[in-house]
Amino acid sequence: MTDRAGIRISRVSRVFEGRGATVQALDDVSLECPAGSFTALIGPSGCGKSTMLRLALGLDHPNDGEIRIGGLEPLAAARQGLTGVAFQDAALMPWRTVEDNIMLPLDVLDKKRGAFRAKVDELVDMVGLSGFEKALPGELSGGMRQRAAIARALVTTPDVLFLDEPFGALDQILRRQMNIELQRIWMESNATTLLVTHGIDEAIFLADRVVVMQSRPGRIGQVIDIPFARPRQSAIFSDPQFHALEAEIAGALDGH
């Protein structure tokens, strides 16, 4: 893992001139995620989290400020295959089977599918979709679609991973399981990870650092470091420090 894979968001603003209203989705936001770090982004609905991810992926452009992924323009970084992403909406292609959807990034990046066969099987298994490899998205439940999207985000073993509420549609047990898997994968790959989540516990369990955003205009309110050692076990959920952090983050959230 080189330093190439850090995320630097510098003084970024994004204003939407919508039909409903003019929204300052991001107002002079700066955020630095060192290579290999795990950052959780938490904040009220509509505060600009997804917007920030879209900007970092090069899918949208800031009105002001600059974004660098490993020193590169977002799109350039993406083109090098540095990034992986799971959107808030699963965004599977309806005509591709689960398997083919998971392999989409390979097709985009011109990687040989053959070399990833084992990896895909492993991921399908990990997200609990064994037996559904050949199913079309229309034949899956909401949570199953989201899991396919997670597998897709991981298939290229990206250096930079963007996850927008990837576990929102999962039950708590599966969610916890996926949290543990994600931690394992992160530790193995050391991918710089930016995770948007509404789960405070999930954020604390996974992240080195929880960034709490505030809305109208979208901005960073507080950054809270999470000191737990790795690998973290389920046990930390009952750690008093965990509860203290939970309360701190909840407070920061409330204070908007």
Binding site: L57, A76, T83, F87, A91, M93, P94, V108, P137
Partner: protein, 520 residues
């Protein structure tokens, strides 16, 4: 369910055939000018030995034209989506190719080329605009989410096209091919009227025309329909298989494009350039082909014909008088043709079995050359407005119908679930969800119908009423009055461009208000 639908379709076909047989046997329509199916088959049986060389010749011309026309159309559609400016600039040329009356074009093709070439070109032109539009519509209506995921992995325009847009556009492109199939067959047949070859259903038809045997003409028409129908059926089948997996699972919530101030000057320049380009193209083409000046009027020569020569006043007068006769019917024909297409498309949702049973009839109207059909229509409807309307509608509705029906069938299940969950019946689902969701397709089909309406009116004028632009065109051919031929062609193309542009204007307004992206 599907099996039942197919059975129902077969049953309705049966009913239709029996009805036709009764009508034919009892000579209920036009004093027996509409022959019974059994009479047509009998005639086909008798004449069968004549058919094979004609059928093969038509298949050859139509299929090569189909391949070339559609390949170009898809390539052009892709180009226009990748570089929208090219699409806007080429708009004039595209519409010109679509709106040029074959009766004006065919003689020029016939003297410029020989052998199969005119047939292939006319068949290809018959496909081009339709499939190009379908491609553009399909590509531009791709779910943003599919595009975003490819772009998020650094996919360039080409990758987006290959992995997301092309597949998502497939049903739409296939619907284009479905319309193109009868057009290619008809194009080949129309070019066969131009002579040169000895074989082809068109040649056979012209020879048979003078015999006053409607059953023979219908036999030829049905043979043509069968050729087109096979292609139509094939593409429908593929489309039906693909459409299920092409519909979005959940509803897209694509960000509407933010209002952007467009430079008025720039917009005007683009429109003017798109109108000027076909003229330039025409000029260069004539120059390159070395077509003699008497036949090939260049833009300046046409200008002289219309405005500078001593006869200009007469010429302009004739043109204006003809235009005054053609224009009102064109507008009415457009409205009625679209209404019919729309009704059929809605019918394809509400009563799919009935509409599917109607498809063979629809195909006959698309492949049966009107030279052969008009005498019957005239017997039934006279030579007034109703025959113009009928012909115009028959020329207009099909591409519009297929395009709209395709759009309606692509609406996602999730979208329909909402009204259904509140107990909405099929009509309400259509009104509240299906139609609004497929508005881009509705407009795309309107854009197809508009130039065709003018063509329909002109054909009716030429064959039935002896008035207006269509008659003027045909008459001018007899006088070798190429100035007038070109003038009529240019006027009809300009009119089509104006109507088309009008639709585009409304389309952009309506769709952008709804946060949808137009499909041009």
């Amino acid at each position: 369910m599907a099996g039942q639908g197919r059975l129902g379709t077969l049953r309705n076909w049966g009913i239709l055939l029996v009805l036709w047989e009764i009508v034919g046997r009892l000579r209920l329509v036009a004093d027996g000018a509409l022959p019974a199916p059994s009479a047509i088959l009998q005639r086909l049986w008798i004449d069968w030995s004549d058919y094979p060389p004609h059928i093969w010749a038509t298949i050859e011309g139509a299929s090569i034209g189909f391949l070339i026309g559609n390949a170009l159309a898809i390539a052009a559609g892709i180009l226009f989506v990748l570089f929208p400016l090219t699409g806007r600039l080429a708009r004039g040329i595209n519409i010109a190719l679509f709106a040029l009356p074959p009766i004006a074009l065919s003689p020029i093709l016939v003297i410029t080329f020989s052998g199969m070439t005119p047939r292939i070109i006319l068949a290809a032109i018959g496909c081009y605009f339709i499939t190009m539009s379908a491609t553009v519509t399909g590509l531009s209506q791709t779910d943003r989410r599919a595009i975003d995921i490819v772009r998020a992995y650094g996919g360039n325009r080409w990758k987006v096209l290959r992995l997301a847009q092309l597949r998502s556009a497939l049903p739409s492109i296939l619907s284009g091919l479905r319309i193109a199939a009868p057009n290619a067959v008809l194009g080949a047949i129309l070019a066969e009227f131009g002579g040169g070859g000895r074989f082809g259903l068109g040649v056979y038809l012209i020879g048979s025309l003078g015999r006053g045997e409607p059953d023979r003409l219908w036999g030829i028409g049905l043979a043509a329909t069968l050729i087109a129908g096979l292609a139509y059926g094939l593409f429908s089948l593929i489309a039906a298989r693909l459409t299920g997996a092409s519909r979005a699972v959940t509803m897209p919530a694509a960000a509407p494009s933010e209002a952007r101030a467009k430079g008025f000057l720039r917009e005007t320049m683009i429109v003017l350039a798109s109108i000027a380009l076909p003229f330039l193209f025409w000029w260069v083409l004539l120059y390159a082909m070395g077509t003699p000046a008497m036949i090939a009027k260049t833009p300046p020569a046409l200008f002289e014909y219309l405005f500078l020569s001593p006869q200009s006043a007469t010429n302009l007068g004739k043109l204006a008088a003809a235009l005054a006769q053609t224009l009102p019917m064109t507008i009415i024909g457009m409205a009625v043709g679209l209404a019919f297409a729309f009704a059929l498309a809605i019918g394809s949702v509400l009563y799919p079995v009935i509409v599917r049973a109607f498809m063979p009839v629809a195909l006959v109207t698309q492949t049966m050359p009107l030279v052969a059909l008009t005498p019957l229509l005239v017997l039934m409807l006279g030579r007034g407005h109703s025959v113009i309307l009928w012909i115009t509608v028959s020329v207009t509705f099909f591409p519009a119908f297929v395009t709209m029906a395709q759009g309606l069938s692509l609406v996602s299940r999730a979208a329909l679930d909402v009204p259904r969950a509140y107990g909405a019946g099929p009509l309400k689902q259509l009104r509240l969800v299906t139609i609004p969701a497929s508005l881009p397709y509705v407009f795309a089909s309107t854009r197809l119908a508009v130039p065709r309406a003018l063509l329909g009116v002109m054909i009716a004028e030429w064959l039935a009423t002896g008035k207006g632009l269509g008659n003027l065109l045909n008459q001018s051919r007899g006088y070798l009055d190429y100035g007038m031929i070109w003038a009529v062609a240019v006027v009809s193309v300009l009119l089509s461009v104006v109507f088309y542009q009008l639709v585009v204007l409304i389309e952009n307004r309506v769709l952008s208000k709804r946060g949808m992206s137009p499909a041009q």
